[in-house]
């Protein structure tokens, strides 16, 4: 019997993951992380999510604990998120949470407490290669695939991880929850960033933490064509919210200069680039060069590129990747590594 710790968020995916771990005959303990102490869509301190997780654990007959990793979350996820916006970068809070919280703090704690593996409800699969190394692979449910946010896992981490719902579609997960009588069976999927409420949004969250600077919008010739309320909130590729005067065709933000509080806009063609620089490359097992598939956002389509001399050269011109965004490298449907766009 394998002793496993299931990270239960209170959602249907991780609840079913826990159920499957039980069915697998593992010795299962559920854990919910208390990460954010402020407002969220599920109330202060996410109490209702913790309750949902606890009741799911009760229904499965497993023990359930709450770990408070709030300080780490503030330090490694929230503060960098705010910092990134303040300097005009696009943060990836879910990736940072996986990197520092779930697959570092939680995994280490699980090991220290004598658990062999942790189980999560991510929609992704783990595949073993001929050379015995592991890779994260896309989920059976393409639309729900979360392999992108798991690119930072190394061999040791992947070998300590179990992803039981990766082979299931979301509908199958809900059916399973329903057949087990779990009341989270119909709970809506969580959206976006867990520490930002739908009601108040990102702008309000950031306004309480950093001063936001109004900026001007210029075209490729440098003539002013509009304004933005906050330069820190503009993302590369953005089209709306820039109060653009006139214009026949849609224009997109293709450059953001925080220093001068200036957004440069242009048409689709001007947004396209042939290559993308990156930093902090990471490889799941070994370094790969040459042709690979690159995905530049959580639900984006992977595109072919050549990795040469530390530079990604796109096979076909690619829309500009926002600085700070994660680039995840795939071979077919398997994650082989990733990096952060400069």
């Amino acid at each position: 019997m394998t002793k496993v710790m299931v990270a239960m968020s209170g959602g249907v995916d991780s609840s079913v993951a826990a159920a499957l771990a039980c069915e697998n005959g593992d010795e299962v303990v559920g854990v919910t992380l208390k990460l954010w102490g402020g407002e969220s869509d599920s109330g202060c301190c996410s109490v209702s999510d913790v309750d949902d997780a606890r009741r799911a654990a009760d229904a499965l007959g497993i023990e359930h604990h709450v770990f408070n990793l709030g300080e780490d979350f503030d330090e490694y996820v929230v503060a960098p998120y705010v910092k990134a916006h303040s300097v005009g970068l696009t943060p990836n809070p879910c990736i940072e949470c996986n990197r520092h919280i779930k697959f570092d703090r939680l995994l280490n704690r699980a090991k220290a407490l004598g658990f062999e593996k942790i189980v999560t409800g991510h929609h992704a699969r783990i595949v073993k290669q001929k050379d015995k190394t592991f890779r994260i692979a896309r989920a059976a449910d393409e639309g729900k695939d979360q392999s992108y946010v798991l690119y930072m896992l190394n061999q040791e981490q992947i070998s300590s991880l179990h992803l039981p719902i990766g082979e299931m579609t979301k509908d199958q997960v809900r059916e399973k929850a329903n057949s087990l009588g779990l009341r989270v069976a119909t709970k809506p999927d969580s959206q976006d960033v867990c520490f930002i409420t739908r009601e108040k949004g990102r702008a309000d969250f950031l306004r309480q933490r950093i001063s936001l600077t109004p900026g001007k919008v210029v075209d490729e010739n440098g003539s002013e064509v509009g304004q933005v309320e906050a330069i820190e909130l503009v993302t590369i590729g953005q089209r709306r919210g820039m109060l653009l005067a006139g214009g026949k065709e849609p224009r997109y933000a293709n450059n953001i200069d925080i220093e001068s509080a200036t957004v440069t806009v242009g048409n689709t063609d001007q947004l396209l680039v042939n290559q993308t620089e990156f930093r902090d490359p990471f490889w799941s097992s070994k370094k790969v060069e040459g042709e690979l598939l690159v995905q530049t956002s959580a639900h984006g389509k992977p595109k072919l590129a050549n990795l040469e001399d530390g530079l990604l050269v796109w096979k076909e011109a690619h829309s500009r990747v926002a600085s700070g965004q994660s680039l995840v490298f795939y071979e077919k449907d398997q994650v082989i590594g990733g990096a952060i766009a400069i």
């Binding site: 919910t32 208390k34 202060c44 301190c45 996410s46 109490v47 913790v50 606890r54 604990h65 709450v66 770990f67 408070n68 709030g70 300080e71 280490n108 704690r109 090991k111 220290a112 407490l113 004598g114």
Partner: protein, 378 residues
């Protein structure tokens, strides 16, 4: 074997208490506010309990207000005095949230404590000098996390000398098992206690007043408890609370002596066996016998509690928030303990039912759990 070392969170209900309560769950339907015989029976039962509490605290039975527990008693003390007299409330930084929250919400003053978590008399005196309208000062008798004891009578002397009109409230919830409340709360005007911290049931507590204290009700309705706390009394629980108070009067000293010895054995044993363990309170600090509050170097209390639970030992760290997660302790913060040290602190709390065998087992299990965690860290 389950080793329950969380008596400061809640004590097991004593057998005598259960026996006293049972008839009031199974036989007697009466509402104590009614007028017929069955109602009068219920009335008599809660008035007998009132007598026991009055005796325990050295108060008039008519000044015992039954509540749903410590939180309600504390809220009623603060809001009730502010409601009746106006002015500002002041409390110490290490109070239970049941006091801190109403004080903060009313715009009151939170006084700093010294490094043992006891109210600092000098800063209290300064605050009394700088604010003219403090109508109530609330200082807990014994702290729920560390067990440190405030000398309420000395604090009361200081307050009466400076501002004689100020009411003094003490939350004696954690002291009832261990101290002679009648004596230690002699100069306080309002005293909170709750049954489940000394062998009684959950859901029954009391706010006890000294003669002449007026307070505005918080819960209004049928005017029960002499118009000070409306709502049909929880008869079985109040009967249980009364019985627990009666037992405490008789057995307190004996329990104290035994628990002090077991607590010292646990503390000394853990400090001997495990490196980097220290008492959170400096030696010689006045404290209740039931709590061994220890700091474990390079240990995360959440992880240690998890392993201890695996070994059948139930203890706690600081206080839990609504989600069930361990929160950083405001008590240790007020004492000036840094976050890292506080994050390695554990409260083992003993009580009337704690046995020598349990302590012996804890002295084996705790070191082995600490060793497992430290081994992993290497």
């Amino acid at each position: 074997m389950d080793i329950y070392l969380d008596h400061a969170a809640s004590t097991p209900v004593r057998e005598e208490v259960i026996q006293a309560m049972m008839p009031w769950l199974t036989e007697h339907p009466g509402n104590p506010s009614g007028s017929h015989r069955l109602a009068r029976e219920a009335r008599r039962a809660i008035d007998d309990a009132r007598d026991h509490l009055a005796l325990l605290v050295g108060a008039e039975p008519g000044n015992v207000i039954f509540t749903s527990g410590g939180t309600e008693s504390d809220n009623l003390a603060i809001d009730g005095i502010l409601g009746a007299k106006g002015g500002q409330a002041l409390c110490s930084a290490t109070e239970h949230p049941a006091v801190l929250e109403p004080v903060r919400e009313s715009g009151g003053i939170v006084a700093p404590t010294d490094d043992t978590g006891r109210v600092n008399l000098e800063s209290l005196a300064n605050l009394l000098d700088s604010f003219a309208d403090i109508s109530i000062v609330s200082v807990m008798m014994a702290n729920n996390e560390t067990g440190v004891i405030n000398d309420i009578n000395t604090i009361a002397d200081l307050i009466s000398e400076k501002t004689p009109e100020t009411m003094i409230h003490t939350d004696a919830v954690q002291a009832t098992s261990w101290l002679d409340i009648a004596e230690t709360s002699k100069k306080a005007h309002l005293i909170s206690l709750t049954g489940h911290k000394f062998g009684g049931p959950k859901g029954a507590g009391a706010l006890i007043l000294r003669n002449g204290v007026n307070l505005a009700p918080v819960i209004r309705g049928g005017g029960q408890e002499r118009e000070r706390r409306s709502g049909t009394q929880n008869v079985p629980a109040i009967v249980g609370l009364g019985e627990a108070a009666r037992l405490m009067q008789v057995e307190r000293l004996k329990i104290n002596e035994r628990v002090t010895r077991l607590r010292d054995k646990l503390e000394n044993g853990l400090i001997d066996k495990i490196s980097g363990v220290s008492r959170t309170l400096p030696k010689g600090t006045p404290r209740t016998p039931g709590i061994a509050h220890l700091c474990f170097k390079k240990i995360e209390n959440e992880a240690l509690l998890f392993l201890l639970e695996d070994k059948g030992i139930y203890a706690s760290a600081a206080s839990s928030c609504a989600s069930g997660a361990q929160e950083a302790s405001h008590v240790l913060q007020a004492m000036g303990v840094d976050l890292k040290t506080a994050g390695g602190s554990i409260r083992f709390s003993l009580g009337q039912t704690t046995t020598e065998e349990e302590i012996d087992n804890a002295l084996i299990a705790v070191p082995s759990a600490v060793e497992q965690l430290r081994e992993f860290e290497k």
